[in-house]
Amino acid sequence: MRELTVLHLYPNELNTYGDHGNALTLKRRIQWHGLEPTFVYHHPGGRLSDRADIVIGGGGQDSAQADVQQDILRIGDDMHALTEAGVPMVLICGTYQLFGHRFITNTGKVIKGIGVLNLETIAGQKRMIGNLMVKSDLGVLLGFENHSGQTFLGKDQAPLGKVRRGNGNNGKDKTEGARTNNVFGTYMHGPFLPNNPFFCDEIIKLAAINKYGDFQPRPIDDSLALQTRAGARRRKY
């Protein structure tokens, strides 16, 4: 059976509110499409797996982010290489920020990121918390944001999409997330993939085509996701 390896970065440090839901959704949908998922976990200080068809990483508390920062600099070159190779990645909140150039804290301290995405994040005073709706090339993305960092995209950095409701990257320029090659970063945490199943399938498709040259999707009953999406569209920020 065709297999896809999912590399989950820092699952014990970066896992605030429902990030395991995304891992679970990816696992189940890979199975439902007739492929075999293998999950490998990368922990700080551990040896990086040499196989990765998909990379995922979640959000974390500010304190946890400091714990993984040293480690992510160590694996930065590998992440750049995977990006060049077209490996799809779903990076949420904290991981998204660390894939940018830097994070500047309230006290002006600079936490270096790995610069896969051309962006920087500045600590904000106000937390942006609420239901987020974003128009992307792949479709309307629905999720929940909860962050105080304000992310600003560098020149020529493509966003993931345009904010229709909520704050997105910084609450100012209407951009949300970022995309470079097949690397996707976003502030939509929690059940981002189950509520946007077409996005999850796109990640699986990209990975399957990279590895096997083609992808034959199988029909999946997404009627429940259609219901949650209808509810999410009506919801206020």
Binding site: N12, T16, Y17, G18, G190, Q227
Partner: protein, 428 residues
């Protein structure tokens, strides 16, 4: 003078309210608080045995009920706050109703259940003698931001404690804070916890969320000097180890988390009443029955019996599934997303549904019924029906054969109470 005026004002507003229907509990307090901001502090400072706070993510209501019972059983007159009503206003209301016009209070001690944010705010006004911090885990992060923030709030209350802090040795977030704070403040630190044998029942926030970690692996409870330890249980026959002696009792409450709440209550009760025999306290603990939303049963007029269980965060949901997931009962899950429930339902994805052995949920209901069903579908659990409307869902559940259990978030639970009291009666 302020005390007198505060008391009279509160009583006057309450008297005016008698002609209105329902509610109105917090209103007298609101008025008193607005007019006399220092009223609460001043009144509470008169209590001969002072004030204690009970805080944490889960188990506050039950533990408060236990501590109040221990105190009352030994002749103490206890002022406490009822669940749900706005805290400082609720206290102000309660004070003004009970105080004599002279400002004298017919109480010895106040035992206050305070949520994490209130713990910080209130400790700026009132210095508690003891702070009992039960646990901290991810809950309402759309309100609080981060788990660390919640723990910091509790830390603020710990700093305000004049005699000391009692906390859970198995909760690293609270334990390390309590150690630092009590050392710096020169106050006492007392610990409760569970034996390493039971640690798999009580994963902390980190363990709940972590992968590849055997539950309980990071525990080291035996190294520390634990005052009250939950040693073992068999059904609701519970063994505690208290200062190197073993005690055994059959509790009225059930569920392993409540046995641990019992350990916390004994630790606080023992410190507040050092002269009472521990054996007596353990026996008194056994008499306490369940608090709000912790497994009460209602019999509907048609004869169907429905059991209600509150779920409000991954930890409490996981506990509920451990208690009810293996039974063949018809299960209904009601999820709302009002502010009191948490507007972000991401937490449903942090719950492990593996204990649900039947792989079938009869109904999901509430504002987020579809989100719940979607979550279940990813663990191959089939939801027979999605019914957003709670009254309709209850009727459909009542028609099913066999035992019936509803797991519900806070505001759904309030709605269910009203509904079930109207169409049935509580089973004792």
């Amino acid at each position: 003078m302020q005390d007198f005026l505060g008391t009279v004002t509160g009583k006057t507003v309450k008297a005016g309210l008698r002609f209105r229907r329902g509610g109105g509990q917090a209103l007298p307090g609101l008025v008193v608080e607005k007019i006399f901001p220092k009223y609460v502090r001043s009144m509470l400072s008169k209590l001969p045995d002072g004030v204690v706070f009970i805080t944490g993510t889960n188990g506050k209501t039950t533990t408060t009920k236990m501590v109040v019972h221990l105190l009352e059983s030994n002749g103490k007159r206890v002022l406490t706050n009822s669940t749900g009503s706005n805290l400082s206003r609720g206290i102000a209301s309660s004070l003004s109703q009970h105080a004599k016009a002279s400002g004298r209070l017919p109480f010895d001690i106040a035992v206050l259940e305070v949520d994490e944010a209130a713990a910080r705010r209130l400790s700026e006004q009132i210095k508690p003698r003891w702070v009992l911090a039960l646990n901290v885990s991810r809950d309402q992060l759309d309100r609080f931001g981060e788990v660390d923030t919640i723990a910091d709030y509790i830390g603020a209350a710990m700093r305000a404690a004049t005699e000391g802090v009692i906390t859970n040795v198995n909760d690293p977030n609270l334990f390390t804070r309590a150690q630092k704070i009590t050392e710096k403040e020169g106050t006492e630190l007392h610990l409760f916890g569970s034996s390493s044998k039971l640690s798999r029942y009580f994963p902390n926030d980190y363990e709940l969320a972590a992968v590849n970690l055997s539950k309980g692996a990071s525990k080291g409870s035996t190294k520390n000097n634990v005052g009250v330890s939950l040693e073992d249980f068999n059904g609701n026959l519970v063994k505690y180890r208290i200062i190197n002696e073993n005690y055994e009792s059959r509790l009225k409450v059930s569920g392993q988390h409540n046995y641990l709440n019992g350990a916390a209550a004994l630790a606080l009760g023992g410190n507040l009443m050092p002269d009472v025999e521990i054996k007596d306290l353990v026996n008194q603990l056994a008499e306490v029955s369940l608090a709000f939303g912790r497994g009460e049963k209602y019999r509907l007029s048609g004869g169907a019996v429905i059991e209600l269980v509150l779920v409000k965060n991954p930890a409490s949901f996981t506990q509920a599934l451990a208690s009810y997931g293996s039974a063949k009962a018809n299960l209904m899950i009601a999820i709302n997303d009002n502010i009191a429930d948490g507007r972000d339902v991401s937490w449903l994805w942090d719950v492990d549904f593996a204990p649900l052995q039947t792989k079938i949920v009869a109904l999901t209901s509430g504002k987020r019924a579809a989100d719940m069903a979607l979550r279940l579908s990813y663990d191959d659990i089939k939801t027979i029906e999605i019914e957003n409307d709670l009254p309709n869902a209850v009727h459909k559940l009542a028609d099913r054969k066999g035992d019936k259990v509803i797991l519900a978030t806070y505001t759904a639970m309030l709605q269910l109470y009203k509904l079930l009291s109207k169409h049935g009666e509580k089973v004792l």
